[in-house]
């Protein structure tokens, strides 16, 4: 039986084999990089209904995070403040600013401002703000320097890798509880944060869970 394919096909097969192998390796690498949480999740910055500036309030004016997000020490959930909290000041300050139109409208009608959530964990993860804050994990560890952001964006991947890195070695991210909302805090006298962290771990008997059901309950 005569050969059906011409001899040159052998060459095509060899070249095709090499190209598809190289292509597959590159393709998988690109896919893995492009879909990794640090690429896919960080930098998320939705447009908010009201151009609220964290930099102005928390940065320049030095308001404590806790003033608005007032549930973090006690609850799992960090509250998005109701309009009344805004109006504590804005009933007196900038009462006719057009930027605050939606806030005044919300206050008048009782309908909340439709803030867009930035940091969102998957529904199969249990996360408790109070447990972290009271152990001395600062807001900055997960949310970054919000006090320097005009509009809030996600800066950490907040995936399992991110959580576990800290759960396995919490010391560098721990500080005395009174400083957790002080985002630019650095240890006094140039002390190593890990040393302080280890001291806090010993004092408070901190042992973050690393088993599955610690977070996937």
């Amino acid at each position: 039986m005569a050969a059906f394919f011409p001899k040159i096909v052998d060459k095509y097969v060899q070249i095709g084999g090499i190209l598809s192998t190289v292509g597959a390796v590159i393709g998988i690498a690109v896919f893995a990089y492009a879909t990794s949480p640090s690429v896919l999740k960080t930098g998320y910055q939705p447009v908010q209904p009201v151009p609220y500036s964290h930099k102005l309030h928390a940065g320049n004016m030095g308001m404590d995070c806790y003033y608005c997000h007032y549930t973090v020490y006690k609850a799992a959930y960090a509250a998005i403040p109701p309009t009344q909290v805004c109006m504590n000041c804005h009933a007196k300050v900038k009462t006719d600013s057009p930027l605050l139109e939606k806030v005044r409208e919300s206050y008048a009608t009782g309908q909340p401002v439709q803030w867009v959530r930035v940091h969102k964990l998957a529904d199969y993860v249990y996360f408790n703000h109070s447990a972290h804050i009271n152990s001395g994990v600062s807001c900055v560890s997960c949310h970054g320097r919000v006090d320097q952001m005009l509009e809030v964006r996600q800066v950490k991947p907040l995936n399992m890798f991110f959580c576990l890195e800290c759960h396995r070695n919490p010391a560098p991210n721990l500080r005395p509880v009174q400083y957790v909302t002080k985002l630019d805090w650095t240890p006094p006298n140039g002390e190593d944060p890990a040393v302080i962290g280890r001291r806090i771990i010993a004092e408070k008997h901190i042992s973050p869970p690393v088993n599955c059901s610690g977070c996937h309950r």
């Binding site: 039986m1 050969a3 059906f4 394919f5 052998d10 893995a32 990794s36 949480p37 640090s38 991947p157 995936n159 399992m160 890798f161 576990l164 890195e165």
Partner: protein, 481 residues
């Protein structure tokens, strides 16, 4: 004398093929199935049904992924139910293919040649059906690749738990699937070349040409081929035993009464071969009848298969007995309660179905007439697989529905999604099988031919015998002149 000789010929060397077949007839007959000028209407009707079931499977899986695995009925205390039952059932069915193709090859059981191709194909399709269940039980199968395989990644920041038999299962099943495909494909190459050479120029010839990898049938080719086939048979052989052993570890390594027993590995392997042979039997009887392959898949093949079914049924029955004996002998109240509960508890009907189908009904095969009766063997092949499905159901659901704490007792009921997903896997399995029958030689042409020479040799010796001791007339009456 002549009568005695013909009896000896019949009994000691019953034909594996019809006595009047030549090499060319074999090629012609097996290839002709893939060379239909016009695909029969029956094939279209069948594939319409099976591919509708396949669509049902896709719909169910889409529904499951988009809603959550709560759409299945398994929930505390029966965290595993139909999904794992179906998984073990399908993977068990796959075992016959590897047993026939690898172990029987190494044991030089030539009768395997008529059935090994279809059985191997069945293995691969069954493994595909099986893999669906644990994969979709994870709820997010696109992520499961990181949970199941040790791939460095930035999602988890952790490795798999290598002490868990569930992780061993991942390797066992994926190795099994890979080796089965390689083995099957290697065996197909010479036959694909045969089809290529018989095809008119065109797409058909190009496709078979590509997949036959330039096979020309030279003796160098055959030498390499046979070496490769032997090596793959060697690799596959331990897999026949290891895969279901490890599947049984999923249960045996835990401490649940009804699961925690050392008899599981041989018990599971025996059961897997039992159900696998039954499924091969079901499909082969249908294919043989529909495609008129009676002269290649002869009564001898079917009878030998029935003997294997009988033997493995006895192994399974013995294992059931052992479980009960050990439960009593252990003196453990939980073990005793569990096994008592199997027979008399709320799922008594499942246990009795299992026992009747797996242990009682195959006993008909002790009678030669029954072993050689097509209707009987078809029915038994079906009841066997019903029984083997119930065996897995009994092991899984019955062990879980009675927890150590009576406050956690429950009763599992399947949801309509459970039922439709299971039916859907039949769609996948049968659609693949129908495509296989249409496009690939469903019997190993090259291998079947190898049995013909031995058969011809016996015939030749017999002819000489008649020539020497009998007159020419006798020879004529035996049709050998």
């Amino acid at each position: 004398m002549a009568d005695l000789a013909s009896v000896i010929r019949e009994e000691c060397n019953p034909p594996m093929l019809s006595r009047d077949m030549s090499y060319h007839d074999i090629t012609d007959q097996i290839s002709s199935v893939t060379e239909w000028k016009k695909t029969p209407k029956q094939w279209w009707i069948l594939i319409t049904i099976t591919s509708s079931l396949l669509l049902l499977l896709l719909a169910m899986l889409t529904y499951l992924v988009s809603t959550g695995i709560g759409v299945w009925g398994n929930n505390s205390p029966a965290g595993w139910a139909w999904d794992i039952t179906n998984f073990v059932w399908w993977i068990g069915i796959g075992h016959a293919g590897t047993l026939i193709s690898a172990i029987l090859f190494l044991l030089r059981q030539k009768w395997r040649t008529a059935i090994n191709r279809a059985a191997e194909a069945m293995t691969i399709f069954a493994v595909a059906c099986a893999a669906i269940f644990p994969l979709f039980h994870t709820g997010r199968p696109w992520r499961a690749v990181y949970w199941l395989f040790p791939i460095p990644n930035t999602y988890l920041h952790m490795w798999q738990n290598y002490r868990s038999p569930l992780e061993w299962d991942v390797f066992a099943v994926s190795t099994y699937g890979t080796v089965s495909i390689l083995f099957w494909y290697t065996g197909l190459i010479p036959d694909l070349a045969t089809l290529r050479d018989r095809s008119p120029n065109g797409l058909r010839k190009v496709m078979y040409g590509i997949f036959s990898l330039g096979w020309r049938g030279s003796s160098t080719h055959w030498k390499h081929y046979e070496k490769a086939y032997m090596i793959l048979a060697g690799i596959s052989t331990p897999l026949v035993l290891s895969v279901h052993t490890i599947v049984s570890f999923d249960f045996a390594v835990s401490v649940i009464p009804g699961w925690h027993t050392t008899v599981f590995p041989p018990y599971f392997v025996g059961g897997a071969i039992f159900s696998g042979f039954a499924m091969v039997m079901t499909l082969l009887l249908l294919s043989r009848w529909a495609l008129h392959l009676e002269n290649i898949i002869t009564m001898r093949h079917l009878e030998v298969m029935n003997k294997v079914i009988l033997a493995t049924s006895m192994i399974v029955g013995y294992s059931y007995g052992t479980e009960f004996f050990i439960a009593w002998y252990s003196g453990d109240i939980y073990e005793r309660f569990h096994f008592f509960n199997r027979i008399t508890g709320p799922y008594w009907w499942a246990w009795w179905t299992m026992c009747i189908c797996n242990v009682v009904i195959p006993q008909f095969f002790w009678v030669k007439k029954m072993r050689r009766n097509i209707a009987v063997m078809f029915i038994i092949s079906i009841t066997t697989n019903i029984g083997m499905w119930f065996e897995r159901f009994v092991i899984i659901v019955l062990s879980l529905h009675r927890d150590f704490l009576p406050s956690s007792w429950g009763y599992f009921r399947p949801t309509w999604v459970d039922v439709c997903t299971y039916l859907g896997t039949f769609g996948l399995f049968l659609t693949l099988y129908l495509l296989f029958v249409k496009f690939l030689p469903m019997i190993a042409i090259g291998e079947v031919k190898s049995t013909l020479s031995a058969q011809n040799h016996v015939e030749h010796v017999y002819a000489h015998y008649l020539e020497t001791y009998e007159g020419a007339e006798t020879k004529e009456t035996h049709g050998l002149a």
